[in-house]
């Protein structure tokens, strides 16, 4: 539905460079990146609020690169929601339909239906200044959906909300997208948000798209150490790599050695390589495991710190001077009887050790 090819745009010293991206029809696509990575700028290019210098943007079969925003068929929800402060909630939602000169009866029915759908019908006659962050977000969403856009562009729609509201809104966004089937591009800088909503996602930083894949792929198999750091890989190290039969042996600083799967053709097989192990893939045990599947690395270390993260517990261990993180549920943690300063064994399967290109 959205096809971007070789897009280029400079703004001061920053530039979006050679951006190519495809979002399929009916897909919920997340664009993930840190602040200043160019994700909002890219969204504004798709909206038509920034004229691109090179490349092409197509929505459906139409090249919209040179069209005005109103001709592109996009619904845009900016980061701060940008509700019209001088108009009531009802009038905000009706704004686009009024411009389309929709018949009054149709307009009223559509506005009421949308306000009910997003749960703001009871706020219809209020002004935006009197709404909470979550209510504003819902009104802005209804306003964007009112014009039945072909593509819905959401710029960090939940970043200004508290965590609980954020989870609720994310679920509602996903459900609404499933109901309406609108192709949605959701810009965010939080990978948990991406996991909550996206069918597929792209990581952008420095004005370039770095990786495209399912949220799970991006989380488990980031292509570079920078992407890994951004999705909070946890254990991000560099090691000397050497091939050993079906395995790749990684010797990290301090002398700890891990076994990884033999890399694919495009990944480096020798020399210094970055690699990562997600904390939830590190298994802890108080005693040395007696039997392990082939390719499993077992390391011995000391428990340095334990942090309760709410649903999870994160255990920081030190193995030969290298810090390694492990995370688990409370039930599992309680069964281990871990004490800070005690000896602990870490087991990592070869398929959970992910070697990156750079």
């Amino acid at each position: 539905m959205i096809c971007i090819e070789g897009l280029h745009l400079s703004v001061g010293e920053f530039a979006l460079r050679d951006v190519s991206l495809t979002v399929e029809a009916g897909e919920y696509f997340a664009l993930l990146g840190p602040s200043g990575s160019g994700k909002t700028l890219l969204l504004e290019c798709i909206c038509g609020l920034n004229r691109i210098e090179a490349g092409r943007i197509a929505i459906g079969d139409v090249d919209v690169s040179n069209l005005e925003p109103r001709q592109r068929g996009v619904g845009y929800l900016p980061q701060d929601y940008a509700l019209f402060p001088h108009r009531t909630v009802r009038h905000n939602v009706a704004f686009g339909l009024l411009r389309q000169r929709v018949r009054r009866a149709t307009l009223e029915a559509r506005v009421d239906e949308l306000m009910e759908q997003v749960g703001v019908l009871q706020l219809a006659d209020r002004l935006p200044g009197n709404l909470s962050g979550g209510e504003k977000q819902r009104v802005a969403l209804a306003r964007a959906l009112a014009v039945r856009p072909r593509v819905l562009l959401l710029d960090e729609p939940v970043s200004a909300l508290d965590e609980q509201t954020r989870d609720t809104i994310c679920r509602q966004l996903k459900a609404l997208q499933r109901t309406t089937g609108t192709t949605t591009l959701h810009v965010c800088h939080n990978f948990t948000e991406m996991l909550a909503v996206a069918d597929r996602a792209a990581v952008i930083y420095g004005g370039r798209i770095r990786q495209v894949g399912t949220p799970r792929e991006i989380l488990q198999r980031p292509c570079t150490s920078r992407v890994a750091a951004f999705v909070q890989a946890g254990n991000l190290l560099t090691a000397q790599a050497r091939l050993d039969g079906p395995w790749l042996r990684l010797t990290a600083p301090g002398g700890i050695e891990l076994i990884a799967m033999r890399p694919s053709a495009d990944a480096p097989a020798e020399g210094t390589v970055p690699f990562m192990v997600r904390p939830e893939r590190v298994a802890l045990s108080a005693t040395a495991p007696t039997t392990c599947p082939a390719g499993t690395t077992v390391l011995e270390g000391l428990v340095q710190h334990v942090a309760d993260l709410g649903p999870l517990v994160r255990v920081t261990t030190v193995c030969r001077g290298t810090e390694l993180l492990a995370s688990m549920g409370h039930r599992e943690y309680n069964g281990l009887g871990i004490v800070v300063g005690s000896r602990i064994f870490l087991a990592v399967a070869a398929e959970d050790v992910h070697v990156m290109t750079t």
């Binding site: 005005e68 996009v74 845009y76 019209f84 108009r87 009038h91 506005v111 964007a144």
Partner: protein
Amino acid sequence: MNLQRTAPLHSGAGVPVCGRGGRLFAASTLSVVALFVAGWLTLIFNDVVYTAREAIKETRVTETDASHPAAVPGLPPSQTLFQKLVSPEITSALWLSLWTSAVTVVIGLGFAIPMGYALSRYRFPGHTFIDSVVDLPILLPPLVIGLSLLVFFQTAPGRLIEDLGLKFVFQKKGIILCQFLDSASFGIRAVKLAFDGVDPRLEHVAMTLGCGRAGAFFHVALPLARRGIVVGGILIWTRAFGIFGPLMVFVGAVRMRTEVLPTTIYLEQSVGRIEVALAVALLMIALATVALVTIRLVGLERQ
């Protein structure tokens, strides 16, 4: 469907005054306000007292004149202050002041709104220079505007304009031209600041919802800048209503023709009728107060 368009006014919320330091600070700032207002009110009060005293004195003289057995037949009797104020010269000046300043507001806002928006939204080479040129009339002595216009209409382009039938020198149209050149900058500045305060993102959203650039301006930016536009209009009107210097140079002080109220004050005081000059000044103050309060109530409070 109740499509309410306007938001209620957010009148500045009172800041709580706490502690000795807070009270002291509030008292010191408010005392400056009191000093300024008291100074002005004292001046106006003295004018009122002086004028009233003169009026009473003249009324007595007029009554004496009328009943005096030695009153010379054929000579006009002495006029009371009120009679002088409603004389054809002064009512003509009042009417001329009112309609020329009103026309200047319309023309001034006709320039201020597009200029304020353009200077607020668009960046172009020479932006800073043009922004400064807009402010020039604020800094210049008003007399310079009259002199410049007089010189301009002696040059070929000026003569061409007059040849085309648009005569300004010593004409009523010249009053509006002087008022416009002297006051428009205040309006432009106020309107630009108002548009600066409107988030361009609101217009961007409007553009994705079916508006063109102009539609976003009319449906979003203009209503949101209304408060600043009203302020701009007030500034233009007050400046235009009180203009004097450039008019003396460019249109002169011809009674019943190019005489506006400030000119009347000058003419009356120059022939020694101080009480009439002061009475006209008080009339201007009263009119300006009524106009400003009305504009504020109608134009600002509704927001």
